[in-house]
Point group: C2
Chain length 311, copies 2
């Protein structure tokens, strides 16, 4: 089995580096000094790299160790974001902000937002539910949640909407595909081939269908899968072209595993919106969340600025 690094040990390494002493790190962790000492030995053995320089006056990082610590701290930050995001799913009590989000937003934006809110206002605890766009709107209407985030262009009556950015959909094919060299196709060509798409009701799918319908075209469904990751794998395996959020395809497009193909005469983008009850005054937690998301407190004259996918 491909062994992944033990994040707990990496966290201990960071603490040892910061304290400059194995014993002091152990004390802060509530562990014994020998335990931490052996953990560091085990870590060095696993990595086959000398990380620490032990002296009688304490323990300092080797040059290699400094680099590893830096890499480890970014990895641990990613793990923290993951942990906090999962924590928001637990729908527990003592929550300051109750949010409902649609799938694409949950997958790609929510972790960034939760992390940002935690860094700027650590006191707020977010609870988050994942639903499709219609359900999100219902949850906001009924008062089950305080705020919703959706990709669909319209919202029901009684709710007000704040534009928070754009989600750009991208057509992608594997490198060998005939379209890969052309780099551009027409909407009619796109409609003619079986496409890999999400299940019915998904915002991504409806956006594509709607855009084609406005051109008088109908989407040809190739294979339906309920997960973006599965769709990407299928596309890479050459099953067919796929249309997904640019954010979902970021890694694959960057590494060349998939190639972006422009659709010349089809606007494949959709607004990302926050959804709130029109009548009510927004609670402070929601305001804080909206501000880290990129929405100014009240009806601002600011253009749409897509939030960066984070580091």
């Amino acid at each position: 089995m491909t062994r992944y690094p033990d994040l707990d040990s990496l966290a201990v390494l960071l603490l040892v580096a910061r304290k400059g002493s194995i014993g002091q790190a152990a004390e802060e962790l509530g562990l014994s000094q020998p335990s931490v000492s052996r953990r560091m030995v085990a870590l060095e053995n696993a990595m086959r790299v000398q990380l620490l320089h032990r002296t009688r006056q304490g323990t300092v990082l080797t040059p290699t160790g400094r680099v590893v610590v830096d890499w480890a701290s970014t990895l641990l930050e990613a793990a923290d974001d993951f942990r906090r995001s999962v924590g928001a799913l637990q729908a527990q009590s003592a929550v300051s902000v109750r949010a409902a989000v649609s799938m694409t937003i949950a997958e790609h934006h929510a972790p960034v937002w939760v992390a940002r809110l935690h860094r700027t206002s650590p006191d707020y605890v977010v609870s988050m539910e994942v639903h499709n766009s219609r359900e999100v709107a219902d949850l906001v209407s009924s008062g089950a949640v305080d705020v919703g985030f959706v990709e669909s262009p319209t919202v029901p009556k009684g709710l007000r909407r704040r534009r928070i950015g754009w989600d750009v959909l991208v057509l992608a094919v594997p490198p060998g595909h005939p379209w890969a060299d052309r780099g551009e196709v027409t909407a009619a060509e796109l409609a003619a081939v079986p496409l890999l798409v999400r299940e019915p009701g998904s915002g991504t799918r409806e956006t594509v269908e709607g855009a084609l319908r406005r051109r008088g075209l109908t989407m040809t469904v190739g294979m339906t899968m309920a997960s973006n990751t599965a769709l990407k794998s299928a596309a890479m395996a050459g099953i067919g072209p796929v249309v997904l959020s640019e954010l979902a395809l970021h890694a694959e497009l960057g590494s060349g595993q998939l190639v972006r193909v422009e659709v010349s005469d089809l606007p494949l983008r959709r607004p990302l919106s926050a959804v709130l009850r029109a009548t009510e005054r927004t609670p402070p937690g929601v305001t804080a969340l909206l501000s880290v998301v990129g929405v100014r407190p009240d009806r601002p004259p600011r253009g749409p600025s897509a939030p960066r996918p984070s580091a």
Copy 2:
């Protein structure tokens, strides 16, 4: 102890999701079916979230599970990058590309490059040593490594250089600091206050010193630390202003823990360069590495394009 998620279990979860069956995932992993079953139960208990829907016909993800799987896959990608980067430090045998890099590049660029090279050309194995700029040049000259990456503006004779981008240095202070509100200071003001800097010989430090010297000024050394992370912590604690690569400060500037201050009359940037032996023909592994780094095969008419800090 703050428990981090177990990456191995997350990897198992991804496999279960892909296979649609606990037993089949177990077989692929060379584990027993009960073992994987228990692991998934443990994972769900730890997260306090229902991830899987078990039927007699197999196991599928719950909607929540799909989101968690997506988050987990990005976390695992980060972990893979970490693992590969650490692997490159092992200086083992059977290596296709031997590189030497300076600290800032090792910390912020190298993991991205290693990951990208792995995705485009998985056969190449990179070995990497971390040294300061002068040592990197020496290692290339002597033939100990095939290619070097440095931040310094000059290279010794006998070596040729390829510009691969720019590293922008940023002056940063904590939010309470008087400079934080002003947003801009002069080079003379910067030179007058004790600065948090890296140890002598560091490229970051020399760049600042050199830029000030060209203005007829001398840097005032406040506190010297051998690690960027330590410097950031010190700056956030209010010990003093710090000048570091924009990449190193990305997270802190984004979350508002540190505030960027412009230095009006001081160009705080330095070129990132690949360093090669002038006489020799470059081996194929080096060419592949340079191409993922952003250098075209041979003397291209392309402007500098800073590579993105990765996802």
